[in-house]
Symmetry: C3
Subunit: 256 residues, 3 copies
């Protein structure tokens, strides 16, 4: 669907699937928005945002958190708490408290990650498998540490295992800045790594964190309008949707 | 006028013309704001923003677009759709649909550009001339492609022709980033180019896209408080106005 | 206090003092927010923001300024006008008008700075001393000019004198960008300078302007969760609080 199609009548735009959808997903990073800002984001994003991540531990310091979650849900946006918070509970042996928290918040999607902790991969897959019985699980692959370079075969193996264990999608970590994981410190893309992953993993099962515009352009150019993209800044949501439709200078000639 | 003059009583501030005005224009880039954000921008910008550009194709993916336009109009802000959208219609031979769209939206200012398409300059001037009969026309000069370096004489010739054809102002393209056109990829200013343009073209007829603070400072230092500036980010509007008044560190000693 | 502690039950978080407090202070830079945005910031920041600076001269161009100040006060946020505005009055010999202005606005905290003007240090201390009788004074040390490198002993001497003269806290200037003062042009920290200051000055009496995340991380790592930080961007307030609590990748292992 295209939001103002009847008004604009612009022809030959790339198809975008309706929500809920398995590809063409846009995941947004909320770093502690107020209820005012959430209402604003929900208005802009009702049809184009799939997932809102309450980034790292910001949910813990957000007043009116339940009201905010209600606003997002009302607009059909799926919410989850950033993986760093999950890790904070895990490292403190408070996983049961974590489950109580998300149940209390009415959240049914969770992120299982090990970006800031050491976690045996087998243990991570067990956690995925266990949580997948009750929740929709996003599992994140890749370290937040720019020094830890994971070779392509290991990326693929982890992604395969985590999907096998029950993850709905795997998320390719890049941080809010887009400077680790499939990106170099400069934000440049490790194109060979992405290509190898794409040969082995169904790309609809991956959400690529790609906060920088140049990264978004690269993914859309190579893999089309409906590539799953994440860690989008709240004020870039409409701009990304225009980019997906070839209605920005950077992608203008991809689809005509 | 200076907004809080009666309250602040600060003397020796540079004069700023009242709206509607021919110079001292601030053009803002709206990349898909919600109605909440538009109301907020309208409050801040009622007296200091002249033009709001609904950037590239974001208007097509903005829910409550008509409500948003009404909010801006109510506050006396002139709205137009980004030139990239015009080009999307033009390249699809849908110019009549474009006219119906803007009439339907109650928009009377349009941007005619060729930043993403190839368009014979004669044809562009014909379009300007044709639209100028019914609309206020902004015509944009310069490519979005950093590789296409246009020499000064060609900038001047195009600007002269487009103004002659009926453009209200010509806009010097620099993108949202401020890295093409009169700027180098680094954002640095092609000072010789600007100086040559200024010698030949009445500078009140040009709007310089200058999203970076250093670029704004440079233009204000050289051409004064009332230089026309565009592609200002929504959260920099008041900061730019303070800069124009010499009330920011960067411009503090320009006017005293 | 930790905002959602009862809901989250996450153990072993660093202690944060309740407001009003002498350390752990977060000072935010408001560059001309509307009343909508101020209400949003007040919601997010009621418990975690101490001070809102109406940056440089933006207050002069903000419509509904009094309504905005009322919103902040209502939420318990202390407001003051940026030092650049103070300097604009001082350089025009309008200090009495400045006093009338802040009294009229109901503002009781002021910043005395010389970032954009030349001011004998003795005269500055006199001003501090005079204003400290009626107002809470923040005095700012450091130039906005990247060329003016002040040696450590001079930083320390100025800070000592200004605290002695009656300043509530001294603010270490770094601009909105974090590229002068205790930072290099690249944003890198002059670590030796900070260390020397910290040896001589009670660090609770200093507010470090540190707009960049890497700068915030560095200060929190070295001096703990309750280091006083300033010039925080409005959309980074919750993220900084999470950082202080070790709930962001960058600070995850500082406190466990």
């Amino acid at each position: 669907m295209t939001i103002n199609h009847d008004l604009f009548k612009l022809t030959n735009l790339p198809e975008r699937p309706n929500k809920p959808r398995e590809n063409g997903i846009t995941m947004v990073m909320d770093k502690g928005l107020s209820t005012f800002q959430a209402a604003s984001l929900a208005e802009s994003g009702e049809h184009i945002i799939d997932l809102v991540k309450l980034g790292f531990g910001t949910s813990l310091v957000t007043p009116k958190l339940k009201e905010k979650i209600a606003i997002y849900k009302q607009a059909g946006l799926d919410i989850y708490l950033g993986g760093t918070l999950f890790e904070a509970y895990l490292v403190r042996n408070q996983i049961e408290d974590y489950k109580r928290l998300i149940d209390n918040l009415g959240i049914s999607t969770i992120e299982i990650s090990d970006g800031s902790i050491s976690l045996e991969h087998e243990k991570k897959c067990e956690l995925i498998s266990q949580f997948a019985k009750e929740y929709k699980v996003l599992s994140e692959v890749g370290s937040k540490d720019a020094e830890k370079i994971i070779p392509p075969y290991a990326w693929i193996e982890m992604m395969e295992n985590e999907l096998q264990a029950g993850a709905w999608k795997v998320v390719a970590e890049s941080r809010e800045s887009g400077t680790v994981g499939v990106f170099r410190g400069s934000g440049e893309i490790r194109t060979g790594l992405v290509a190898e992953i794409e040969r082995k993993i169904n790309i609809d099962n991956v959400i690529w964190e790609a906060p920088q515009k140049s990264q978004q352009v690269w993914f859309i150019k190579l893999y089309g309008s409906n590539i799953n993209l994440g860690n989008i800044a709240v004020n870039e949501v409409s701009a990304l949707e225009a980019l997906r439709l070839g209605l920005r200078g950077d992608s203008f000639d991809f689809f005509i």
